[in-house]
């Protein structure tokens, strides 16, 4: 066998074992197609979910509880969309391997693509929802995000993606052996939602009870990477200029940028650890997926 042929054969084998962009896109496209098959509105449905949440939370927090955060809808969606991206991805990823059992057992392909398809699927929705949100802000004349501050969204989304990918790998692998993983995931996600400043602002809790008595709790609060992501997204899109109550209290904890970068950095550490753990566990367990399914 001549050298060129050897190299060719080797590269083709490698192409088969690697997660390739086209493979990822192909599977995500399949999932999207199946999800929206036969629905005339197609993608519009993916916007309905956050819109309903928007309506419900606006009603509860602005009308019933009189939380008083101005432009509550925009405040809420700024942090709710990245959270929906995370929770949607992780929920979807729980089923990524088990739901593709037919493929895993019969076709040799790079298994590490499966959790990524869950992330890719939800990232597509996240992108669309962000576009709709920004368009809505522009149309209603809420233009405070236009400027340097919107750049803060980039590291915030990056941290959210790292955490999401890590968690997706972890739950996808665990669900193969422990089928109650999805119940666990539901509970953790629900708790996680309330542990993030999404429907409330950080300033509403940091001057209260335990946070005053034990100031380290504030630092611990930001160990949840999505807490940092939430406030950073609010800073990026909603802006720091809003106040509530009397005397007026700023909605966001800090008017600058450094505060948010710091919180994102704090959140990046556990995110990276979870990513490493998720990849490790997935890699260890994936060799036996075909057998366990």
């Amino acid at each position: 066998m001549d050298v060129a042929a050897t190299v060719r054969v080797h590269e083709r084998a490698r192409a088969q074992g690697r997660v390739r962009w086209e493979l990822l896109v192909g599977i995500v496209r399949k999932d999207l197609k199946i999800k929206y098959q036969g629905s005339a509105l197609g993608f519009v449905w993916s916007l309905v979910n956050p819109l309903v949440l928007l309506a419900v939370y606006t009603f509860v927090f602005q009308i019933v509880l009189r939380a008083g955060i101005p432009k509550f809808g925009f405040f809420l969606l700024s942090a709710l969309l990245p959270w929906t991206f995370l929770s949607g991805s992780v929920t979807f990823a729980t089923d990524a391997v088990v739901g593709n059992a037919g493929l895993v057992r019969k076709v040799p392909f790079p298994l590490s693509v499966l959790p990524m398809t869950a992330v890719g699927f939800n990232l597509t929705h996240f992108g669309l929802q962000m576009l709709v949100l920004l368009a809505a802000m522009l149309v209603t004349g809420f233009t405070s995000f236009l400027g340097v501050q919107v750049l803060l969204a980039i590291p915030a989304i990056a941290v959210a993606i790292i955490l999401t990918v890590g968690l997706s790998y972890l739950v996808a692998a665990l669900n193969v052996r422990y089928r109650d993983t999805k119940h666990l995931v539901e509970i953790v996600l629900m708790a996680g939602f309330w542990a993030c400043p999404i429907v409330y602002s950080v300033s509403q809790i940091s001057d209260k009870g335990p946070f005053v008595r034990w100031p380290w709790l504030v630092d611990a609060y930001y160990l949840n990477p999505m807490a940092g992501v939430s406030v950073s997204m609010q800073r990026a899109l909603y802006g720091a200029g809003h106040t509530y109550g009397a005397p007026p209290t700023p909605v966001l904890p800090d008017p600058g940028y450094l505060f948010y970068v710091e919180k994102l950095a704090v959140g990046a550490i556990p995110s990276l650890l979870i990513l490493a753990l998720g990849l490790y566990v997935y890699h260890r367990m994936s060799a036996d997926f075909a057998e366990e399914l």
Binding site: M1, A13, E22, G102, R105, P108, D180, D288, E291
Partner: protein
Amino acid sequence: MSDYAIRATEVSKVFVNHVERATSFKERIIRRRALTQDFYALRDISLEIERGGTVGLIGANGAGKSTLLKVLAGILRPSQGSVKTRGRIASLLELGAGFNGELTGRENVYLNASLLGMSRRETDRVFDSIVNFAELEEFIDNPVKHYSSGMYVRLGFAVAVHVDPDVLLVDEVLAVGDEHFARKCLDKIAQFQDDGRTILFVSHGLDVVERICSRGVVLDHGRVVYDGDPYFATGELRKILGTDVPVEIEDEETDEGVSFGPIVFADASGRPASLFRTGDPMTIRVPASISARWRAAIERVRAVVMGVGDIPIWEMVAERADLPSDQSDWLLTFTVPSCPPIRGRFVLGVSLMTASDQPIAAIRSRHAFEVKADPGAGILSVDYHVSAQPSAGASAIPAASTTEGEDTRAPATSKVGR
């Protein structure tokens, strides 16, 4: 470094049958230890498949064929040992594996090809050829859930052979298609052989294995029990399956005063065997028990080796002088120093004859034995010589229209008479 496409080194695969394994975190916490039963699906398999070889993997149901294929394809992890492969592998382990019923044929082709390592551009190039091969032009934009199983397997096979694989692994899936498609698949496989690609396929169609494989590997209870000539491989497998026995049998037949024991074909070492090569020595043992009354009447014993349709192939005769006429239990032993150069499956008929050549009793062997010569067509291996010289040219061959007298070398008869 030998030029292998697949190399398995001492591969074992143990399936752990979790009798009571924790399948949830809840159980995991409550019961930490699990009861397990180990099942060896594959044991110490070392197999090297040379580049360009066509290997048939055969065995009884449950012998581990599919497991081995999955281990070689990289779907299952070997419990022990290692597998190395070279090049792009296309595998067709199950009919329509990897197809999604909701997607159209077209979408499934692209998805399947990308799972097998093809880029979109590469797929574009072969797409028409795939559809053409699968003969699904009209249906390619229909969801595959509406396909028949034949259409499924056609599309699956078409994709697998068009991804330009270096190694093709095929499980018993071709049986689904009709004869027309099966022939097309075999043509494609022949083309792959010409291209020097490697093919490993599992089949229960032993004649196909004999016809197209360069090598046969027989698995039995997770072990390789034979690896070599496909003709011998299928013979070994038939022995394992017990299908080397002819269907209609009359054995240990008891007439009044005459009974036979089982007829045994044995090899050089005296062990019972059913497979012989041309030139191998063979011993045939025929136990019989004959009462004194009949012993007096027996003039000779005729043993006839019979082929398909009971065609007599050769005869062996024991005359009265050779027979122990004062004993009732006989063990007749016919020794063939060298099996004749004839291919086939044979049975033995034994008759006890009177002086007037009337049969007193007869028996047919329960088992058949098989004689194999080097692969080739026909039942006989014949020694022959071939010679070829350049012919003297077209002018040397007289044509009917040759004009009179023009060619003096034309045989005199050509224009004479009639």
